[in-house]
């Protein structure tokens, strides 16, 4: 015999699980490309969030002009990929042989540039965009628990990308080369692969995925200058947990981080209310839930300093 209250909290729980899945999928899109860039080129790139922002802005602008989300998406993807490859050729390529400090500083410079550039072009006010009309409703996956179709679509897109990446890396020649590159650079060079081109393509693939994440985040969050940095830091947490260079690690860590963050925010204050007075419980719960993923990261580091799936032995 189930009480109505526990039935309700069950529905709430499922909804939060889906939210966690959706955040995890976004983080996967961000971290899949970045972890490859780190692993293959051994270069730390802080500017990955900028391509997320660029994707969102381009989509929002095209959508304002044409009214079509899909056109916005179709415009944003090649633009993010092309700007990414341009940045790789102009700046990143010169940093591969440098130490990490130089890479941090130069890509920090890129962030400042892109953030300010968007302020010049689009102003300081955030832009808002809607998802496509046909995804504006809700779906009842489980009777009694309506869930926004758009958020569900994000999850579907994320799973599709994961499958495509899996096929790319296991079934195609290019994918094999990339995979080999993330574990043994010299060998790939010795096999006569055009490393320069390979690097540019990998970088472009990464920024394309970041742009895709940005477009999909557009209707959920405000499109504004600096929007890339908060997700960038979460992405770093994902990469650290998953292990640099590992796509599988990125997928698992992204889902883990998405779940822990979402469920922590939703339920920790409630849990603390069981043992503490309400006001105090909300305070402690809010503090702890915003710190939960970092604590998770610290715990995993103690156990496995190179992440769950270290690509390089």
């Amino acid at each position: 015999m189930q009480s109505p209250a526990s039935g309700l909290s069950m529905l709430l729980f499922i909804e939060q699980i889906l939210n966690g899945l959706q955040l995890g999928v976004m983080l996967f899109l961000m971290s899949a490309g970045l972890t490859l860039v780190f692993g293959i080129m051994q270069v730390i790139n802080l500017a990955h969030g900028s391509f997320y922002m660029i994707g969102a802005y381009v989509a929002a602008t095209v959508m304002q002009q044409t009214g079509s989300f899909m056109l916005g998406l179709l415009a944003a993807l090649p633009v993010s990929a092309l700007i990414g490859m341009l940045v790789e050729a102009l700046v990143l390529r010169r940093l591969y042989q440098r130490d990490h400090l130089d890479q941090v500083l130069a890509t920090f410079g890129l962030i400042l540039f892109f953030n300010e550039l968007t302020r010049i072009i689009w102003g300081r006010q955030p832009l808002f965009m809607d998802g496509p009309e046909w995804l504006s409703g809700t779906v009842e996956l489980i009777p009694g628990a309506p869930y926004p179709s758009y958020r569900l679509a994000i999850i579907v897109v994320g799973i599709a990308v994961a499958v495509l990446l899996y096929l790319l890396f296991t079934r195609t020649r290019l994918g094999m080369q990339i995979r080999a590159g993330s574990s043994n650079r010299e060998m790939v060079a010795a096999l006569g692969v055009n490393i320069k081109l390979l690097y540019t393509l990998v970088f472009g693939l990464g920024t394309l995925l970041a742009g895709l994440a940005g477009v999909m985040a557009g209707p959920i969050l405000a499109v504004e200058s600096g929007m890339g940095e908060s997700i960038l830091i979460l992405t770093f947490v994902v990469i650290v947990i998953g292990g640099i260079g590992s796509i599988r690690g990125a997928l698992i860590a992204a889902l883990l981080v998405g779940m822990v963050d979402t469920l922590g925010r939703a339920f920790l204050p409630g849990l603390f209310r069981l043992v503490l007075p309400a006001a105090q419980a909300d305070g402690v719960g809010a503090s702890l839930s915003s710190m939960a993923i970092y604590i998770l990261m610290a715990a995993i580091l103690v156990w496995k300093p190179k992440g769950l799936f270290p690509a390089q032995a």
């Binding site: 780190f38 051994q42 730390i44 700046v91 010169r94 940093l95 440098r98 990490h100 400090l101 130089d102 941090v104 500083l105 130069a106 920090f108 410079g109 890129l110 962030i111 400042l112 540039f113 892109f114 953030n115 300010e116 550039l117 302020r119 010049i120 940095e229 830091i233 770093f236 947490v237 990469i239 650290v240 640099i244 305070g283 809010a286 503090s287 915003s290 710190m291 970092y294 604590i295 990261m297 610290a298 580091l301 103690v302 300093p305 190179k306 992440g307």
Partner: protein, 342 residues
């Protein structure tokens, strides 16, 4: 450095020239710094005194980062966490004192205070403690992992302070007044300037002794080759952690002064762009000497100040400028001013 009769005649003269030039430049700087408030008063630009204090404070933070970065080879992207912690200690103590309510009452009662002699040591202690915890976890890794992890932990502290609703949360906390110190009136910008200058000079002296001590040698050895240090018999983790903690305390000192300078603390102080800016100061100043980061702080903050007079979008120029500095200069501004040492 000893000549030992091994340096050739020409080399010796070059070395002497280098030293004379170094002494000349540094003493000119010191005199300028001492006379600065007087000059500003004469020019009737009192705002510049307060700006100068801010620069001195950031110089302390940059020097503290340089300890782990330049000597220890640890690229931390979370240094603002300790800067912000130092500031919040001052802010929270002052706010509790103003409300006449204790900061906490368990396990013992901790009252607020507006006295610098109470707030400053506490700020140092607590930021050192934060550095101990963060360092303990981050220093298990190195390279790219270390960069990302320090950044992530700094962001964690950022969210922690955002969640402190009792102390202003996202909006931050205004101080009723600057801290109190016997003999000085810190509310007076000139007095406060000299306080900051004193702390900067003391901190520089401390760091100078530190890097030339046994401990400093060990830190530099670890930067060069950690594995070799282990095989020589050093427990490297402890030394790295100690260095990280000292640097954290230095940043906490800067943060405590910053809270006083602006009479305001907010989570923005430990936003990751702050860590980035402190890192930029170190780079601009150039590696190889403790004066580099000081010069870098002066250069970056004055450049920001000047650029922002012409355009609100100065960052669009600063970004590419940074990239160019990284790609095309080695040795930073100190190198240009003094010449390369080796």
């Amino acid at each position: 450095m000893e000549a030992e009769g091994t340096v050739s005649g020409a080399g010796l003269i070059a070395m002497q020239n280098f030293l004379t030039r170094k002494i000349a430049v540094l003493s000119t700087c010191l005199i300028l710094l001492l006379a600065l408030p007087v000059i500003m008063q004469l020019l009737d630009e009192p705002y510049l005194i307060s700006l100068s204090s801010r620069i001195l404070i950031y110089a302390i933070a940059a020097v503290s980062l340089y300890l782990i970065l330049g000597y220890g080879g640890m690229v931390s992207l979370g240094h603002a966490a300790f800067f912000g912690t130092g500031a919040y200690v001052v802010g929270i103590l002052a706010s509790a004192s103003f409300d006449a309510s204790p900061v906490f009452s368990w396990p013992f009662q901790m009252d607020g205070s507006e006295r610098l002699l109470v707030a400053l040591p506490l700020a140092l202690l607590i930021s050192a403690f934060a550095a101990l915890i963060i360092g303990f976890f981050s220093l298990r890794t190195s390279g790219m992992y270390f960069i990302m992890i320090t950044l992530a932990f700094a962001q964690m502290l950022y969210y922690f302070y955002v969640s402190l609703e009792g102390y202003g949360g996202d909006d931050g906390l205004s101080l009723y007044s600057r801290s109190q110190l016997p003999l000085l009136d810190l509310g007076d910008d000139t007095h406060f300037y000299y306080l900051c200058l004193t702390f900067l000079l003391l901190f520089l002296l401390f760091c100078h002794r530190l890097v030339n001590s046994r401990f400093g040698r060990v830190i530099q050895g670890i930067r060069e080759n950690e594995k070799r240090m282990q095989s020589l018999g050093y427990a490297v983790f402890g030394y790295k952690l100690a260095c990280f903690v000292i640097a954290g305390a230095g940043a906490g000192l800067a943060g405590a002064l910053m809270a006083n300078q602006s009479e305001f603390v907010s989570p923005g102080l430990m936003h990751w762009t702050q860590s980035g800016e402190i890192l930029v100061m170190v780079l601009l100043g150039g590696m190889g000497t403790l004066f580099g980061p000081v010069l870098g702080a002066v250069a970056l903050l004055s450049m920001e100040e000047i650029l922002s007079m012409f355009t609100e979008h100065w960052m669009v120029y600063l970004g590419p400028f940074l990239i160019l500095v990284v790609l095309f200069t080695r040795g930073g501004l100190y190198g240009l001013l003094i010449g390369r040492e080796r």
